[in-house]
Every structure is written in structure tokens, then in C-alpha cells.
């Protein structure tokens, strides 16, 4: 049984249909990338899984149960965390406060978990009492990921984690994602940096106009002539 299984999902905003039968599978511990042109509906896939869009039809199965119409609060409790594309930290709160709120629903062990994350991202420990808006873009992205990791999710959804970062930081960011994945968390990632994402992931999907056009291992997609020509710039 797959960890996440999206079957023929149709979803959108209000009367607007954006996703037209999307199929995506993420196995336990797997690293899956979604690439595709602007406006294809990549972010919408993530929002739909997280209960933030209008569900119309299809199925979203998580660990064998149907979460298609579950509210966001329930989905978080089941072990999915989500880092949105933009505005993904609380800028006026300190770094530590951001992480504390990431663990808002935890009954106990929050401090220990935050310490674990500080060990993983030492720079965040050094800056824990700084207002998050004073951090650099790369560091804020780290705060955003750490915030989502406090609950120790089984599946972490990252929407364009390297967007807007300087080139050397992009590489660093991908390494952090690898690191998270090595700790056993499955990853579903949307990336503008398609080649790099496909090189690193286990499997990838090419999403076009609300449909999954291609699905294969990352390497196979990279080597696929159509995919290269159409979506990876040759």
C-alpha cells in the first residue's frame, strides 16, 4: 500500500476547475518531484492534498484511508506537513517561536524535537531568538522547512523550496532536502529547478494543464526526449 495515492483527482477554486484527473503516488520514504510549466497546477495539487482547495472528484488515499474531503487540521494530525511556496514563515515571530508553533498540536516532546532540528540546522539555533524577518532568504526557507518538520511528518510537501535563492544556496537547499529524506520522511516536492530535482528524486511527474502527462523515475524523465524538449529546455 502506498503512503499517498492520488487517483483521478479533480479539484479547483470555486467554480474553477484546475486539476483534471491527476494521479500521483508516493511510497513510504520515497522522494517524488513534480515539475511542469507555470500555472500547470503544481501548487494546486499540494493544496488539494492538504484540504485547501475545492474538492470535486477523485480520491486522495493516505495510508489506506480516504482524506479527499478531510479538513486540514485532520490531515496534519495524520502526519502530512506542507511548506507553501510563498510567505511560509511568521516574519514577526522569532525563529524559536516559529518552530514552537509548528508543534502547536504536540502534547509532549516539543522541546526535544526542536533541539533535534537545531542539531540538524545549527544556524537556526544560533538565530533562535532573532525575528525571522531579519534572516536571509535561504535561512527563512530553512525555518519554513524546520517548522513543518517539528511534527515529524511521514510526508513532507515542499512547494518550490529553492525559489528565489542565490545559485550556491539552491545546491545547499537540495542537500538539506536529501538530508530530510535520509531521516525517513517521504518527500513530495514541486520544483522550478526541474533538472536538479529530477536528478535527485526517486520518481518524477510532469504536470501540464492540470494533468500528469509523464511519470517515471527521475533519471528516465531526464533522458526522455519529449520531456527534455518540451519541459527541460533541450
Amino acid at each position: 500500500m502506498a503512503l499517498l495515492n492520488v487517483k483521478n483527482l479533480i479539484a479547483g477554486y470555486g467554480d474553477l476547475r484546475i486539476l483534471e484527473k491527476v494521479n500521483i503516488v508516493v511510497e513510504e520514504g520515497e522522494y517524488v518531484a513534480i515539475v511542469g510549466p507555470n500555472g500547470a497546477g503544481k501548487s494546486t495539487v499540494m493544496k488539494s492534498i492538504f484540504g485547501l482547495t475545492k474538492y470535486i472528484d477523485g480520491k486522495i488515499m493516505y495510508e489506506g484511508s480516504d482524506i479527499s474531503e478531510s479538513p486540514t487540521e485532520e490531515i496534519i494530525k495524520l502526519g502530512i506537513s506542507y511548506v507553501p511556496q510563498n510567505e511560509n514563515v511568521f516574519p514577526n515571530l522569532t525563529v524559536r517561536e516559529n518552530l514552537e508553533l509548528g508543534g502547536y498540536i504536540m502534547k509532549n516532546g516539543r522541546e526535544e524535537r526542536i533541539q533535534e532540528l537545531f542539531d540538524q540546522f545549527p544556524i537556526l539555533q544560533a538565530k533562535q531568538n532573532d525575528k525571522t524577518s531579519t534572516l536571509s532568504g535561504g535561512q527563512q526557507q530553512m525555518v519554513a522547512m524546520a517548522r513543518a518538520l517539528v511534527l515529524n511528518p511521514k510526508l513532507l510537501m515542499l512547494d518550490e523550496p529553492s525559489a528565489g535563492l542565490a545559485p550556491d544556496l539552491v545546491e545547499e537547499n537540495f542537500e538539506y532536502v536529501d538530508q530530510i529524506r535520509e531521516s525517513g520522511t517521504a518527500i513530495l516536492m514541486v520544483e522550478q529547478n526541474a533538472k536538479e530535482a529530477l536528478r535527485r528524486c526517486d520518481r518524477g511527474y510532469v504536470l501540464v494543464q492540470g494533468k500528469d502527462r509523464f511519470a517515471d523515475t527521475g533519471k528516465a524523465l531526464l533522458n526522455d526526449e519529449h520531456v527534455r524538449k518540451e519541459f527541460l529546455g533541450g
Binding site: F50, L52, T72, E73, I76, K77, Y82, P84, E87, N88, V89, F90, P91, N92, L93, E97, E100, L101, G102, Y104, I105, K131, R147, L151
Partner: protein
């Protein structure tokens, strides 16, 4: 480049504005010192203005904290806030009148705070000095009553509208709530202004200043002390409790709060509870200090409260307090130079100055909630 030039120009402009304001204040200060030396103004008058300004400032500040809190978290300007203050005042006094007058006066009239026929307040004998327990009881009832009222209003008016996420619609609804509350209160408690406490029983202290003295009464002292304690509590709550942090997070980014797993409806309810508690306390303390109540005192105060909140930076709790104190001092200290009828002109001129030179308010961005 252009962006850089613009920010630079903005900085210079802002600094020029600040410089102008400081220059103006310096001239006024020099003039005041001159007046004090020549004896045109006596020092006990200045001391009296400062004390009165502090009392007014803290009253407005306390009333403003609730407004700012709901503004920053629920994202709308609540025009019913003034009438919630009035409701808080009345609910507290209903309780105090009932416990103080039971057996001696007609209970129905007591529960209407003397709406039927005026109650002789000297005979009733309420004052902070002689009946502190009854006053404390009134404060607690005012707080609880206002909290219940705000929760009720949220449940039946604001919550059904919340998912539209439309600040203007909520604002208009709040004007409706304001009218309904005000005239509901007028219907029950009638429209005449009436006394609450026995002024002759309230302890008053003379603090010698210069050749004279400043009169400070226990009602004012109570207001100042309770307001400061409540403000410190709100600060600690917002800064250090998990729920307080969640409220600040919601003020920052509501969608992200939801995604993070913060139970947003619960946080909204907590906001109303804390905002309502502060509002009720403000209503009771202000009427205690004045010794009188009328059905529209909160509504009349609302304009000054909005001014305070705007001066401080709307949405900032510390800004509301600072703005309240700026207004308090302006409304009294300005009397050294201008007649009392113009005090509000001074207050709103200060507001306009702040809007011109620091449109985001004194505290916006400096603080977290």
C-alpha cells in the same frame, strides 16, 4: 537604483518630519519652562495636567488594546467596540448596585442602575474607599459580562461572515451591532446620565507640588493600577504563552497559521475573550473614575480610542497603550496654551501629524502584536 533613491528620499523626508516635530516640542518645552519661571503657569497646574493626562491616557490605552487585538487578528475595525465598553460598564454597575442596595432599595430599580427613578448615590454609599469588595465584584462581573456578550456577538454575527474574509463587510456589520447595542442599552437603562459613586466617600490625597498640591483620588489610582497590571498581563500572555504566540502568528499570516495546525477558530475565540475582558474592565474603570455613566459614553470615547490606536499603529497592542498616553497628555497639557474647548483639536492635530510623517504609526513593525 530608483528604488534605492526613493527609500533614501523617504528617509530624509521622514527624518525631516521627525525633526520638525521634535523642534516644535522643544519650543513648547522652553516656553513652558519660561512660563514656570515667570510664574505665569504654576507647577502644581502642570503636575495636575500630567496626572490627569496619565489617567485619561491609560483609560484610552486600555480600551484601545482590545480594539487593536481584534483588529490585528480578525482583520477588521470593530465599530461596536465603544458600545461594548458601555455594556461592560453597565453590567458591572448592575452588580454593584444590586449587592449594595439589596433590602434598602427596590431591586428592579437597582438592576436598572436607577433607570426607573434616580437612586440617591450618597445614600447607596458606593466608593472604592468604603466598599472595595463591591467594586472588585463589579469589575469581575463587568469582565465576565462583556466576554459573554462578545462571544455571543461573534457567534451570531461575525463568525457566519468570517469565511468571506472581507474586512469591509465585517466593519459594516460592526456598525450595525454598535447601533443595536447602544439603543438596546438605552431602551433598558434609559438615556439620562446618572451618578454611580458617592464622591464624598472616595478618599482623596493631596500631593504637595511647588506652592500648592495635586489632588489624586482613589478612583483614579485604581484605574491606573488596574490598567497597568492588565497591560503587563496582556504583554506576558502574548509574549510567553503558547496561545499568545498563536495569536501573534495569526496576526502575521492567517493562512499559514491554519497550515501549521494552529486551531484558528479557537484562537479567534481566545482573542474575543481577552479583548472582551479588557473592554469590560475599561468600561467599568472609566465609569468608576468618572463616577457617572450614560448609554453612549463608550461610543463617544470610540473616536479618541481610534485616534490612539492609529497614533500607535493599528494592530499593535503596545502602540495602543502609547497612543492612549500621547492622547491623554495632549488633551491635558495642551490646556497650558489653549482653551479647554480646543483640547480635542490638539489631540486630532497630533493624530494628523503622525499620519503625515509616520503613516504606519509609532509602533508598527516595532512590535509583534
Amino acid at each position: 537604483m530608483v528604488g534605492y533613491y526613493n527609500t533614501l528620499r523617504e528617509k530624509v523626508q521622514n527624518d525631516r518630519g521627525t525633526a520638525l516635530v521634535l523642534f516644535g516640542l522643544a519650543i513648547l518645552l522652553l516656553d513652558l519652562i519660561f512660563k514656570l519661571i515667570t510664574g505665569e503657569t504654576r507647577s502644581q497646574i502642570v503636575a495636575t495636567y500630567l496626572w490627569d493626562g496619565l489617567v485619561i491616557g491609560l483609560a484610552i490605552g486600555l480600551a484601545g488594546v482590545g480594539l487593536s487585538l481584534t483588529y490585528s487578528i480578525l482583520k477588521f475595525a470593530n465599530f461596536a467596540h465603544g458600545d461594548m465598553i458601555t455594556a461592560g460598564g453597565f453590567s458591572g454597575w448592575v452588580a454593584v448596585f444590586a449587592v449594595m442596595g439589596v433590602g434598602r432599595f427596590d431591586m428592579k430599580n437597582l438592576l436598572l442602575v436607577g433607570a426607573g427613578n434616580p437612586i440617591n448615590v450618597t445614600e447607596l454609599g458606593i466608593s472604592v474607599s468604603t466598599t472595595p469588595i463591591a467594586i472588585l465584584f463589579g469589575l469581575v462581573v463587568a469582565i465576565i459580562g462583556t466576554v459573554l456578550l462578545t462571544l455571543l456577538i461573534d457567534r451570531f454575527v461575525f463568525r457566519p461572515m468570517r469565511h468571506h474574509n472581507d474586512g469591509i463587510a465585517l466593519l459594516i456589520a460592526s456598525i450595525g451591532v454598535s447601533l443595536a447595542l447602544r439603543y438596546g442599552l438605552a431602551f433598558i437603562f434609559k438615556t439620562q446620565n446618572r451618578g454611580l459613586t458617592a464622591a464624598s466617600l472616595t478618599a482623596s490625597y493631596s500631593v504637595p507640588v511647588g506652592t500648592g498640591s495635586v489632588q489624586i483620588d482613589l478612583g483614579e489610582i485604581t484605574l491606573v493600577l488596574v490598567a497597568v497590571v492588565l497591560m503587563v498581563c496582556v504583554h506576558m500572555f502574548l509574549q510567553y504563552s503558547t496561545l499568545g504566540k498563536a495569536m501573534r502568528a495569526m496576526a502575521d499570516n492567517r493562512d499559514l497559521a491554519l497550515i501549521t495546525g494552529i486551531p484558528t477558530e479557537k484562537v479567534v475565540r481566545a482573542t474575543w475573550i481577552i479583548g472582551g475582558a479588557l473592554t469590560g474592565a475599561a468600561g467599568f474603570l472609566i465609569t468608576l473614575e468618572r463616577g457617572t455613566i450614560s448609554f453612549q459614553f463608550g461610543w463617544i470615547l470610540l473616536l479618541l480610542i481610534f485616534a490612539a490606536v492609529i497614533i500607535g499603529g493599528i494592530g499593535s497592542v503596545y502602540g495602543a497603550i502609547a497612543g492612549g498616553i500621547v492622547i491623554g497628555f495632549t488633551s491635558t497639557v495642551s490646556l497650558i496654551w489653549i482653551p479647554a474647548d480646543l483640547a480635542n483639536v490638539a489631540v486630532f492635530s497630533v493624530m494628523v501629524l503622525v499620519l503625515l510623517y509616520k503613516p504606519e504609526g509609532l509602533f508598527k513593525g516595532v512590535t509583534t502584536a
